[in-house]
Amino acid sequence: MTARFDVLRYPWVRRLVVSRWPQYLVRVTLLALFLLAVLVGWLGTPVGNRNFAIVGVWIAWWAVLILVAVPFLGRAWCSVCPLPLPGEWLQQGSLLGPRGRGGWSLGRRWPRRWRHIWLQNAGFTVLALFSAVILTRPGVTAWVLLGLVLLAVGVSLVYERRAFCRYLCPVGGFIGLYAQAAPLELRVKDPAVCAAHTEKACYTGNEQGFGCPWGTFPLGMVRNDVCGLCFECLRTCTYDNLALNIRPLGADLAQRRGAKLDEAFKAFILLGSALTYAAVFLGPWGALKDAAYDVGAPSWWGYAALLVGLSWVILPGLFSLGVWAGRPRLSWRRAFTVLAYALVPLGLAMWAAFSLAFVAASVAYVLPVLSDPFGWGWDLLGTAGWAWRPVLDGWLPLLQAGLLALGAFWSVRTARGIGAIWGWPRAVYPVAGYVALMTGGMLWLLLG
């Protein structure tokens, strides 16, 4: 076992995460901001970069999520996400903590045949297909946000726990995959204690807290993707047998257990969408932007074919050729699945590099919009008239190049770890070639 440091050894950290109030207050505040975004999306100016729905969600939230929360804190966003909150309140029949009575959910178990993230993969792809419209039209953003909340409420009223988050949320799959690279994990301290504990309060719940909302039994947890860092298990565990560890980066990626084909495909979907977004949103090609925006037009179908073809066919197809060339000692499917996790660091770096450019150009809209969220001519903070100027001017290329090089290094190193575990040292060479190709492509799109 590599080095771990349990931050719960500090009493104030333990109090902060075990108490319901800090998390609750953050979630309720975020829910209020979320509802404000929906309202402003409908009622505010249709000019996206002057509307809180667009600037608050797709610039401010996105920047925090991809540049800070996911790389450093894993699924921490999921622990404060407001999307499932109304559904949880109804499902649990309580606004804060267990109250000894049931809620208004049928409490069915999520169907076994849907216990994977293929639906999340499809959902993310669908959002990506319409992203040029969603990212720029406040009304559409408002409907998408409201639709996600209503879907979460509906799922909570029929199924138990946070089935929406684990199996349907299009952003959840993205966060879950990249959370495996993060230097933070919640894990069992002593497996023997859990194994001997017959009540399994962490899964079933008790008067101190709910059974794991993510349907995860902590003893069996080996990767971050199935833990939403909601901390319910910390509240319910009667043996103080859980640790919130600081750990080495990417600690989940090279291991024998927990690799899944649906998640492996997610890695390619995210690589493909990062490349496509860099071309569409940051590239100089107006025809490509028009194609992504003109939903339903013949050119949009071309864009859709490019995005879907690249993410679902070309990138995994190229990788599977590499896997075949590496002469695996495992079955092709197993080899493809375990080795795809090596691409997680590079994917994260590509998204961070893309988002840096996107955010650097757009962050100047944040203060004016906070001063005038509806775009109605208010000036609450005196910053409504601040002129637009991009930030990080001279530093951006250095940061992007550094991020991509770090991602390439880390991915190949992870591939070596995977090869070492599976007795397949040759595995690293096709991954190295693939990583070099992807990194070169992204460098050209961002800096060329």
Binding site: G48, P284, P397, A405, L443
Partner: protein, 154 residues
């Protein structure tokens, strides 16, 4: 090998810094005046990419074919704003090699935040340095870094 093992991160970092500091050869053409007639429309500049040599005097005449558009050159902090029928002009010396984004600086419609182009001044050092750095990273990971596994395997 043990000594190399102890020093590998230091060596890796020093090489990475050297790569970042390496000069990238630039075209040695005599500086001249380059005039570009750029047409802006929702949501593109035409031509989308302007190529010049370091030291060239760049003249950009901006025309708009539909609504008001701006053209802001990142890194040089110069801006032109054109209305339909009212062109604008900027002049500057492209004295720093690299690729600089051209951005529309006047809200012009839904895709305005993504309306852009590129100004290429000689060879972009960051593209070449980034590629060299990534190759170094891949090489280091292939041959020097120890693989890390969840099982603690080395």
């Amino acid at each position: 090998m043990r000594n190399f093992g102890e020093w590998r991160w230091g060596i890796g970092l020093v090489v990475a810094v050297l790569v970042l500091g390496l000069p990238v050869p630039q075209p040695q053409a005599k500086p001249q005046e380059r005039v570009f007639r750029v047409t802006a429309r929702q949501f593109a500049f035409e031509p989308p990419v302007l190529q010049v040599n370091p030291g060239d005097r760049v003249v950009i005449e901006l025309r708009s074919s539909d609504v008001v558009h701006g053209l802001y050159v990142e890194g040089y902090d110069v801006e032109a704003v054109a209305e339909p029928g009212q062109p604008d002009r900027i002049v500057f010396v492209a004295d720093r090699p690299g690729t600089y984004r051209l951005r529309c600086s006047v809200t012009c419609g839904d895709l305005h935040p993504f309306m852009g182009g590129k100004l290429r001044v000689g060879r972009n050092p960051w593209l070449w340095k980034g590629a060299a750095l990534a190759l170094w990273g891949v090489t280091l990971a292939l041959f020097a870094a120890r693989p890390r596994t969840r099982e603690g395997g080395r």
